[in-house]
Symmetry: C2
Subunit: 344 residues, 2 copies
């Protein structure tokens, strides 16, 4: 076992697009558990779009990462030492353990939960059977409330959340339209994930083109929009919403690296005319219902009705690079970093 | 009885603020009812902010008025001739009879309903016991969903809808904050309507000032915003919303006369962080529940818990002038025009 703990610290707050220079790799001693604590070793770490928000010094639904602190994020791995009554050595745990090889936790501070490695590869605890999976499941079913025969549009449709949203929409009997970047991702959305239509946002680059593309892909209009990207795409969807449409605001990755907020027409006129709803969602609001969501997703995976795709970089030294891939759209599926082999 | 029917026709589509020159007063013969029709004589006519939208040649939730057509709008008065089985001579009726002294209708085309003149002055069928009253009642209770102890903010708070929203919020056990224009309206909102605080938007003229004023008037943040005005006021409220806030989009009178849409920051970030909801409402969606809403409002009026105020211009020749008062904020209470005395 290594003697040092590699940790990624936040070094600077980027004004626009982050770069690797905004992070610093530190080496510290592997921590020892105190009373009521355990130490876990990360096998797989997650990078997610929300992390960009944590680099900003503004109040959000959780506090920002401070300069010099370990970057926040989820990982999964085995407990390697424990003085905690509920987490034993060898247990597989998932939680917000940060960008580091080893994390010391009392369980609660990291929202730690045990993972059953017999269910699926443990990396899925960071994806389809974790936060992104629950976001897709509860966000679509509770906020989007799709009804059979309706049209559901989802952006970032080949991504960790969007890929699941489109498939759940199909399971619910809806027409699913995915928006993704490039022909390869669009083919994946249609051919692998089974969505009814795909829109390539690299072709539909402006409001007019996106509005036209939506008119073709969603000829009966949009009943539910699950928005992961914000920006112009949202403006275009608003021009296509149906009576009593529901727009679930899950993310706005196209806006995260803007130094200055882009101005846009207010969405209120479209919402008023169509008596439509726009609602923000954060998955933690359904934390108590995770078991229900996990069981449903696991069942659909087993039945072959839900597919997922992982994009894994090797080596914890690649964490910043992995995160930057989210913003360039280079990642294809859930972006992960492998820091160590899965526990035996 | 007069031999001619005075009718206000739409003459031109204004690009920005309408003027009296956009309307034309025509005189036509008083109509006779055909089979299944009746003719009513308007005693009181309503002007409402939505009428500005009907002057625009764009698709909305109802079609626009065509050039040369009678302007759309509601009035109340007596049936003066009838070949309709359900509407008898002398019945008091309210409906979308247009800007004219006499209207011929089959009932359905105007959404006509009978009004009980023993309940309250018949003009209330255009206000507190009509469309504005139902908008306030269903919009606040169904879309705003206020809970005891929460803070409800309403704009155009001395107006036909806003004045009722604030009072219903108080009845529901909420802190009510009204936004109105000028010290006289603000005093009315607090002293007459009993709202807990009033903000004068003529003093809080920009985003910063309005955000600060909201911070003082709603120190615990905003749980429900009932929006009648849109624009900068909405942007300011978004900076003050609480977790799971509900924003009811009822109107945007501050934007109706803009020749070009004003751009603004997207509201999505605030909605996401606070998992808040923004929802458009149009009162016709609760048409089947009007009897329930009417009964409740009538009971509250009888109990002295709901007050209302009318602002009446005399003479149908003043219809355009009355409508323009809505946009200048000159009206104080529900704007009406009296065309003839109430039927005996």
């Amino acid at each position: 076992m290594p003697k040092t703990n590699r940790q990624w610290l936040l070094k600077a707050r980027p004004a626009a697009m982050p770069s690797e220079a905004d992070f610093e790799l530190a080496e510290t001693p592997v921590p020892e558990p105190g009373p009521g604590q355990f130490v876990m070793r990360a096998s797989v770490l997650s990078v997610d779009p929300y992390m960009r928000g944590r680099m900003r010094d503004v109040k959000s639904y959780v506090p920002p990462v401070q300069i010099g602190e370990v970057m926040t994020g989820a990982s999964v791995g085995a407990v390697v030492a424990s003085r905690h009554p509920d987490f034993k050595e060898g247990d597989i745990v998932e939680g917000r353990f940060g960008w580091q090889d080893y994390a010391r936790s009392d369980g609660r501070d990291a929202g730690a939960r045990k993972v059953d490695p017999s269910l699926a590869p443990i990396s899925t605890a960071l994806g389809v059977l974790g936060m992104p999976g629950m976001t897709a499941y509860f966000g679509l079913t509770e906020v989007g409330q799709p009804k059979e025969g309706e049209t559901v549009v989802v952006s970032a449709a080949s991504g960790a959340v969007g890929g699941l949203v489109g498939q759940i929409a199909r399971i619910k009997g809806c027409r699913a339209v995915g928006i993704a970047g490039g022909p390869q991702k669009c083919a994946y959305v249609k051919d692998e994930l089974g969505m009814d239509a795909a829109i390539d946002h690299r072709k539909a680059r402006d409001l007019e083109a996106m509005t036209a593309a939506l008119g073709e892909a969603a000829p009966d209009g949009v009943d539910v929009y699950f928005d992961n990207v914000g920006g112009m795409t949202l403006d275009a969807v608003l021009a296509r919403i149906n009576l009593h449409a529901r727009i679930a605001i899950c993310g706005m990755i196209s806006e995260y690296n803007q130094a200055e907020l882009e101005l846009a027409p207010r969405p209120t006129r479209a919402l008023l005319v169509q008596r439509a709803r726009m609602q923000g969602l954060i998955v933690f609001d359904w934390l108590k219902r995770y078991p229900e969501g996990m069981a449903q997703m696991a069942a659909w995976i087993k039945e072959g009705r839900i597919k997922y795709r992982e994009d894994v970089l090797d080596g914890i030294e690649n964490m910043p690079k992995a995160m930057l891939r989210l913003f360039s759209g280079e990642n294809f599926g859930k972006q992960l970093v492998r820091a160590a082999p899965d526990p035996a």
